[in-house]
């Protein structure tokens, strides 16, 4: 018989061991799958490796990793409070929407730096405002934030779609339903081959760490997350702390949207977030909500995404198979988390014992 129990005593080192084992198993399984489909895994590895080694490839992976890491930092603040914000996807979109809106009303001659700054502020505000209603409802009526933040994603997606097809349809696009791209002066400048979003991510990761460990507000956020009752006992206003933390989380997600917009997409569309808001949840969770680990895991996810692209492009493997490999890796990663937190107990003597228990 099988039974599942919580693990009480998983040490940090053993947890790392389990995770490494999971990655190896995932690679092994992927190799077998590729082999079974009639391709040579060694050849695939060789092609991918040669692709990955180039600086250009590295730059492209970092470009993918930037929004993933930022969004993961965003949701991890809410998760620290046990506020399950799964609305990063929508907050990213609304951040990008707010940035686009600001940009469209600025006079044409606005200097690039000023425009970028204002758009960043708008991104922060847009994301925060989009996170506000679920937070208010939770603080005031204890509604389930999971549902609300999730639904707000779809509202955001439809809203941007409406903008694209109706309200903000670009007349210059000759009937094609598209929003006008942001001016070139608003594109994020490049540094070492990648837009400066990467510096921003490093700074944000550091700030977030400082925020949670070293600031008054961060202390409150952590205590509320661990035990609302203790927080109340210590005189904290739980609702206000919750609101603050969620707004911060939303604001960061919104800024992620702006960085995507000004860094890579340059035009607002509903696929701008592209699932990053959801991937970010997995990244934050796998990283144990730790900012430095998020940076690493986000990069690994970016490599995985990129690798899948190459499999298709360079090794000629169909995209469905590449997606399957990606799914396999994710499956093993999440599975390992399960084994780190729980254990399965096999019992042979169970049957006899149960008979005794029901005379």
């Amino acid at each position: 018989m099988l039974r599942i129990a919580r693990k009480e005593d998983m040490t940090g080192l053993r947890a790392v061991g389990v995770r490494i084992a999971a990655v190896l198993l995932a690679l092994l399984a992927s190799g077998l799958l590729i082999l079974a489909m009639g391709y040579d895994p060694r050849e695939v590895v060789r092609v991918m490796w040669s692709g990955m080694r180039t600086l250009k490839a590295l730059a492209s992976m970092i470009r993918i990793a930037i929004p993933l890491a930022m969004a993961a930092l965003a949701v991890s603040i809410a998760f620290t409070m046990k506020f399950w914000n799964i609305g990063a996807e929508g907050q990213i979109l609304m951040g990008a929407f707010a940035a686009t809106a600001i940009s469209s009303v600025l006079p044409e001659g606005t200097p690039g730096a000023l425009r970028i700054l204002l758009m960043a502020l708008a991104g922060l505000a847009g994301g925060a405002l989009w996170a506000l209603p679920p937070a208010l409802f939770r603080a005031a009526f204890r509604t389930n934030e999971t549902l609300l933040t999730l639904m707000f994603n779809y509202i955001a997606i439809r809203w941007v779609e409406y903008l694209r097809c109706q309200l903000w349809k670009d007349p210059a696009a000759m009937g094609f339903p598209q929003i006008a791209p942001i001016p070139e002066s608003a594109h994020l400048p490049q540094l070492l081959g990648v837009h400066i979003g990467w510096i921003l991510v490093l700074v944000l990761a550091f700030l977030q760490w400082v925020f949670l460990r070293r600031t008054k507000k961060g202390f409150e956020v952590r205590v509320v997350g661990e035990s609302e009752k203790t927080a109340r006992y210590a005189g904290m206003t739980v609702g206000r702390v919750l609101l603050f933390g969620v707004l911060l989380s939303g604001a960061l997600a919104g800024l992620t949207g702006m960085v995507k917009l000004n860094g890579t997409a340059f035009v607002l569309a509903e696929r701008l977030a592209g699932g990053d808001g959801f991937t970010a949840i997995i990244i934050a969770w796998l990283s144990n909500l730790s900012a430095p680990v998020i940076l690493v895991v986000a990069f690994l996810f970016a490599a995985m995404k990129q690798g899948a692209g190459w499999m298709e492009g360079l090794a000629g493997i169909p995209s469905a198979l590449a997606d399957t490999v990606q799914g396999l890796i994710l499956f093993f990663a999440l599975g390992s988390e399960f084994f780190i937190r729980y254990r399965i107990i096999l019992e042979s003597r169970h049957r006899t014992e149960r008979k005794e228990a029901h005379p």
Partner: protein, 509 residues
């Protein structure tokens, strides 16, 4: 009688501390064997080893004469060893039945659990042992005493013969303790064997056959309870003579610090839990609030600390009305609170002691400047509390609160609140789970607080504690003040009658 369990040369280390060092313990079949020791002496650790929660670094365990390796609680379960933990492990939104069969039923396999049959069996067992448990009640709806009986049923349901109780009485009311003692005696009469951890020597005297005393991880000795005295056991345990009475000079009360005027507070069941309650606490006195658990103590305390709104009436601190103030404002004005439930309210279990010691002060200079925490200031402050109150932990202020022994957690909270040097200290069950040495110390600190001209409101279910410490005693019954007595002019009988709702002469005081 033959030994049913033998633990030989057990050693267990935690980072920075040896919790068990060459420990020998022998449990005879059909006996109640008490395990006594200071806070942090290693009692819970030793029991957890027997129950398979920890693996010892050295030593052997024999059960029914056979050497065994208890790798996890399932092995213990198969050996018919059961344990009621110091802090219960029940799932709150599950029913009693679900909790009891939880883990017994396979998760995979056919069909739903046969809860009906289980419930019937639980009901039958509950009557047989006089446990009075309703199998269909939800855990969150039943009292702590009842929850404990659910834990007992859980062991019996699994046919456990070796029963471990880790401080079962520290969460019980005197009445429930009395019942539990009866239950324990009944269980050994049936041939079961019991290991009982408790800090209360009276209980050991009452039910235990033998007692093994631990100090700092080592066995001091095993004694036959009938041949020894409480004082002797206490001395073995702390290594010096312990005085049970608190010696204190008569109080010199000053001006009124805390004034409670006609306070009414809603209870959890949407009826008034506290009704028209008035009381004054003056500088330099300890006022005790006695009463059977659930007679309005929680409502009173929460209304005083600001965690619950008052329906009517006022709370005044040094003459100013604080009824509408938030918890934070009251803390700033000088109200400190040792909470009843250290896990639920008092501590953030997964945080370091360092963080826990500044729970109320983190936003004040010198601990915070311009929004940033100053670890340089926080650390010595936390270290000072730990050393003043003899809080023992493996890694000092870096230990997580969760890793402390129960009594050391309590000492840390008491230390933190006294260190606030409040105008009014509201102490709820301040010595719950403490060893006699620590109780003596905490009591002395409370009296010191009083002698320093501060007001202390002591809420306790233990009459001994109330009588020992208080200068005046208010008795609560069904949310009302039954009487206000001068401690020096009353006795147990009078208080006891008032606690039972029998109006006495003190009613008008």
């Amino acid at each position: 009688m033959e030994p049913i369990v033998e633990m030989i040369g057990i050693r267990k280390e935690f980072p920075g501390i040896v919790a068990n060092d060459d420990v020998n313990l022998q449990l005879l079949k059909g006996e109640i064997h008490a395990v006594l020791g200071e806070n942090g002496a290693g009692k819970s650790t030793l029991m957890s080893i027997l129950f398979g929660l920890y693996q010892p670094e050295a030593g052997r365990i024999l059960v029914r004469g056979r050497e065994v390796r208890i790798q996890n609680p399932n092995v213990a379960n198969d050996l018919k060893i059961g344990m009621v933990h110091q802090h219960f492990k029940l799932v709150h939104n599950f029913t009693v039945t679900e909790n009891i069969i939880l883990g017994l039923e396979p998760m995979v396999g056919l069909g739903a659990l046969d809860t009906k049959k289980a419930a019937a069996r639980i009901r039958e067992m509950s009557t047989r042992y006089g446990l009075n448990v309703d199998p269909d009640a939800r855990i969150e709806e039943i009292t702590v005493g009842m929850q404990q009986r659910v834990e007992i049923l859980k062991m019996l349901y699994r046919n456990a013969e070796i029963l471990i109780f880790d401080e079962p009485t520290s969460v019980l009311t005197p009445q429930e303790i009395h019942e539990l003692m009866g239950i324990l005696k009944g269980l050994v009469r049936e041939g079961r064997s019991i290991l009982l951890i408790t800090h209360k020597l009276k209980e050991i005297k009452e039910v235990a056959d033998r007692c093994t005393v631990l100090r700092r991880g080592r066995v001091v000795g095993t004694v036959t309870v009938a041949d020894t005295t409480e004082a002797r056991m206490a001395e073995m345990m702390v290594g010096r003579k312990v005085s049970f009475a608190v010696d204190k000079a008569p109080a010199k009360p000053g001006a009124v610090t805390l004034e409670i005027r006609n306070l009414s507070v809603m209870g959890n069941r949407k009826v008034l839990g506290l009704r028209d309650f008035s009381l004054e606490v003056r500088k330099g006195e300890i006022v005790g609030v006695a009463g059977v658990d659930g007679n309005g103590q929680a409502e009173l305390v929460e209304a005083l600390t600001g965690m619950r709104r008052a329906e009517s009436g006022q709370v005044l601190l040094n003459g100013t009305d604080i009824t509408a103030d938030s918890v934070r404002q009251r803390i700033r004005k000088g109200i400190a609170h040792i909470p009843e439930d250290r896990h639920k309210h008092g501590l953030v279990l997964d945080y370091s002691l360092e963080d826990n010691m500044i729970l109320e002060l983190y936003d004040q200079p010198p601990f915070a400047r311009r929004g940033l925490l100053d670890r340089e200031a926080i650390r010595p402050y936390a270290e000072k509390i730990l050393s003043d109150f003899d809080v023992r932990s493996g890694k000092g202020v870096d230990s997580n609160a969760r890793d402390l022994s129960g009594g050391n957690q309590q000492k840390a909270i008491v230390g933190r609140e006294i260190e606030l040097d409040p105008e009014v200290l509201i102490a709820v069950q301040p010595t719950r789970g403490l060893d006699v040495g620590a109780i003596e110390y905490i009591h002395r600190r409370l009296v010191e607080q009083r002698d320093g001209g501060k007001a202390v409101l002591l809420v306790s279910l233990e009459l001994d504690e109330i009588q020992n410490l208080s200068d005046r005693i208010a008795v609560l019954f069904r949310g009302e003040r039954m009487g206000l007595l001068e401690a020096s002019a009353t006795d147990e009988n009078e208080i006891g009658l008032l606690m039972a709702g029998v109006q006495g002469k003190g009613g008008a005081a």
